[in-house]
């Protein structure tokens, strides 16, 4: 998922971009400009900071969802919190939350399209991964010895594919 987040890190004003998965493990990309400004020392604390950032931000998002629930509103899909020393932007993705912290003065609107693009890309990757996994699962594992039917020249077909074929398609 790092490659999905990397373009966000290249945008000026982005301090950190984090993808929080449902199991709570954050995938982190630090903004390139932020790295230049803060030096390597910040990098040592990167993991710890990202985890607490992810936990606090997710907690806030959950609190917002609870707060608007009495209005019969669904949980918000995108939230922006502007503050004196930076801005937090969170975008809800299926099964994950993408969050970006911006420097003070950077506009969250500039991040709208790149963040939506990152989420779309992530979904594509997940779809492709699911497709590949399903493709691998289709063929039945070969038996150690040929069955009696195979010995007579008949081919085995997976049980789930049997309705798609008529008996006439098989030789013999």
């Amino acid at each position: 998922m790092i490659e999905v987040l990397e373009p966000l890190g290249c945008i000026a004003g982005v301090r950190i971009a984090v993808l929080v998965s449902p199991d709570g493990v954050p995938v982190v990309v630090r903004g390139q400009h932020a790295e230049e400004a803060r030096g390597e020392a910040q990098g040592a604390l990167q993991g710890e900071n990202a985890e607490s950032l992810a936990a606090l931000a997710s907690g806030w998002l959950a609190a917002l969802a609870r707060a608007v629930a009495p209005l019969s509103w669904n949980p918000p899909t995108r939230v922006v919190l502007r503050a004196a020393r930076g801005t937090l932007v969170m975008l809800h993705a299926p099964g994950a939350v993408l969050l970006v912290v911006l420097d003070r003065g950077a506009s969250p609107e500039d991040l709208r399209l790149p963040m939506e693009g990152a989420v779309a890309r992530m979904q594509r990757i997940l779809r492709a991964a699911r497709g590949a996994a399903a493709g691998r699962a289709e063929p039945a594992p070969p038996a150690p010895l040929p069955s009696a039917a195979e010995s007579k020249g008949l081919h085995m077909v997976p049980a789930d594919s049997s309705p798609k074929h008529s008996p006439r398609e098989f030789p013999g």
Binding site: A41, L53, A63, P76, R78, R82, R85, G105
Partner: protein, 362 residues
């Protein structure tokens, strides 16, 4: 910079100055400062920002530009010091770089550098810088955890400098700002042991003695600071007077009449004025917005972002934009996306000057 470019920029500066003379607004001050920044005239840009801020105190754009100009002015020296530190790390360089970082409010970096300074050189001054950096963070973000760490660093510094006033002064600053008067009185007593007969300290001790009786403990005071986001000596923002109820209603009506607006809400304390929604829906909306504001303020402080100035929620319900302010909070719920017009109206409602940037210091 080439001569041609400088000539062109000179013309733009003259134009910006003429515009400012014609209409001395915050936006025109910012435009002139921008032109100076383009010419890398940071000192002049800073001077223009300061002049603008004296006329328009608290203007977010001018403050941002002033900060940026200050940072850029210090940037060259910072880079040079960092380079020298890589080549030959020594306490004098660390001290100067830490001072620059603290001045430019990069407290995280200052604290990390002080840690590195302590590890590489063993200089005990570094411990004080760490404590000061953490104290600055506490004063900016009002998090109890920051105060606790600052106190830990101060304990370390006191062990290294048992007869030094500086760690005690920092401790006194923390206790006084948090409103822990009993703790402050105890620290002043210790300071008086180091400097007996100091008239300022004696006067302060007497003042604190009158307040200490009902004062909370340090832990209670820090908890209260984190909960409310206010330090004991925080004054209510008097520069921006809260609007009167009679002036709120027409503004709220005008906001609710804008295209796409479902409802507009203004809250101050336990009172809410709602336009657009009625009855139980209005009550629920007001309650929800109050909760969103409260949670967002806490989250912004905990995330180290400082005071929250704007919250935007988007979803299948449309968009909800909230402008939290000290005097009261205003919110607008739109069926589509919120625009700059809505943002400006909200700022008017909460008593702020309509800002171009939508960002306001807490």
């Amino acid at each position: 910079m080439s001569l041609v470019r400088r000539l062109f920029s000179g013309a733009r500066i003259r134009e910006a100055r003429a515009l400012l003379a014609h209409e001395p607004s915050a936006a025109n001050y910012a435009a002139l400062a921008h032109e100076h920044v383009r010419l890398s005239e940071m000192a002049e840009a800073l001077r223009v920002c300061e002049e603008g801020l004296s006329s328009f105190p608290g203007n977010a754009e001018l403050e941002r530009l002033a900060d940026r100009a200050r940072e850029l002015a210090l940037g060259d020296r910072t880079r040079e010091l960092s380079r020298q530190l890589r080549e030959s790390p020594r306490p004098a360089l660390y001290r100067e770089l830490c001072a620059i970082l603290l001045e430019s409010r990069r407290t995280t970096r200052a604290e990390e550098l002080a840690q590195e300074w302590f590890e590489k050189t063993g200089d005990s001054q570094a411990q004080l810088v760490r404590a000061e950096a953490r104290l600055q963070r506490f004063l900016a973000d009002r998090r109890r955890e920051d105060a606790r760490l600052a106190l830990e660093h101060l304990d370390g510094a006191e062990r290294l400098f048992p007869h030094d006033e500086r760690p005690l002064r920092l401790r006194l600053s923390l206790a006084s700002r948090a409103g822990a008067w009993r703790e402050a009185q105890r620290i002043v007593a210790r300071l008086l042991e180091l400097a007996p007969g100091d008239p300022v300290l004696e006067a302060r001790f007497r003042t604190l003695a009158t307040m200490a009786e009902t004062a909370p403990s340090l832990e209670q005071a820090l908890r209260e600071v984190e909960r409310t986001g206010r330090l004991a000596d925080d004054e209510p923002d008097r520069a921006v007077a809260p609007p009167s109820p009679s002036s709120i209603r027409p503004l709220l009506k005008a906001l609710a009449a804008q295209g796409g607006v479902q409802s507009a809400i203004y809250e101050r304390g336990a009172t809410a004025l709602v336009q657009g929604a009625k009855g139980a829906t209005a009550e629920r909306a007001a309650r929800s917005i109050r909760e969103v504001v409260q949670k967002s303020r806490t989250a912004a402080r905990r995330l180290g972002l400082g005071g929250a100035s704007e919250v935007l929620l988007e979803g299948d319900f449309g968009s909800l934009l909230i402008a939290p302010a000290e005097a009261g909070s205003a919110a607008v719920w739109c069926s589509g996306e919120v625009g700059e017009r809505h943002r400006r109206s909200l700022r008017e409602l909460v008593g702020g000057v309509p800002a171009d940037d939508g960002e306001e210091d807490a």
